[in-house]
Symmetry: C2
């Protein structure tokens, strides 16, 4: 194993269920990782907690963080900022701990540029109709917002080619199992372990 | 999923236990694949069967196959030929079936050139002393052969950088589980599934 932690980026179209899968990962996953809580300026939804689901901040606070270079990535999406504070992520990786980010696709591409060694996982609906149905049934958005999200989703699926893995969110436990498998498997990838093995040859 | 099967190449230093792991994969693995039986000119060992462990052939027969372009890869190792007949592998892959090869490192590099989309897994001992001990305890080789194998193994571990994954053969079930995980995970890799998802966008 590399002495540094591995960055795992879970992303995908809005409405695909990233948050649900991420929560299931935290509750049931057998692989060890820390979750990096995102920062956002959108309103808190019922059941959400500050510092658990997101760090909820004002526009002004968020833009100050950007100015100060404190964001690993950020994006404005449906009129709100979403982003990842850099400091926490870097500390954990340096300590050898894997870090999971659950972020929007624009942000993921920013992370890819800054941390190309990360593992980029694209969570995807089995098909677009099911995405439409899932957004509609959430029942918190008007038709215009839904249409906007659908257009966005098409663009985002086209962006899949920028990711390492595509995981279908058909059933949550399947998605979790597949993501766990990817994490375990990536820990066996030669670029991540080669230094350890070079030592073995030297030690004989 | 891609409509074509995935080629899985299991390789590593002589004596590391490739054959044992491959047999355990065939007996206990929960992933589906066909095993490509290798061809060799070495003598049959007790318990081995022609067509199961290897196709056992004469030097003349083997060299004819090479001449006729019938080998996906081959290598001469400790005075004997080892190789993979191409025809079987290609038929299975075309039929959408994953194929597992268990081959020496020289051969694996030939396959990498011809089939770069394969998944290349390097089976490795936890350290070289344990490799030495394992070869010695097999008790079928003299000291000179053992020393020759050790030098070979050092070179082969240095070749690890040409592989995608390194799996430690500390305990067989662990190695099998890790290889299964790699196979599952690779089936989720974007280059292997992107065409399926491009259809999804088109179909909406």
């Amino acid at each position: 194993m590399s002495s540094k932690g591995m960055l795992i980026v879970l992303s995908g179209p809005s409405g695909v269920g990233k948050g649900t899968v991420r929560k299931a990962m935290l509750e049931t996953s057998t692989v060890k990782f820390d979750y990096s809580v995102s920062m956002t300026t959108r309103n808190m939804r019922p059941g959400e907690q500050d510092g658990v689901d997101y760090y909820f901040r004002t526009n002004e606070q968020f833009e100050n963080e950007i100015k100060n270079g404190g964001m690993l990535e950020y994006a404005k999406y449906v009129d709100h900022y979403y982003g990842t504070p850099l400091k926490y992520v870097q500390q954990k990786l340096d300590a050898g701990i894997d870090v999971l980010l659950e972020i929007e696709v624009n942000g993921a591409m920013q992370v890819r540029e800054k941390m190309p060694n990360g593992v980029f996982i694209f969570l995807t609906p089995p098909d677009l109709p099911s995405l439409r149905s899932r957004i509609t049934h959430r029942g918190t958005d008007d038709q215009k917002t839904i249409d906007k999200r659908m257009e966005q989703a098409k663009k985002e699926i086209a962006m899949m080619s920028n990711y390492d893995y595509a995981v279908v969110n058909d059933k949550i436990p399947n998605a979790v199992k597949n993501i766990e498998g990817i994490i375990r498997s990536e820990h066996l990838s030669v670029p991540r372990v080669i230094d350890k093995y070079k030592k073995i040859i030297g030690e004989d």
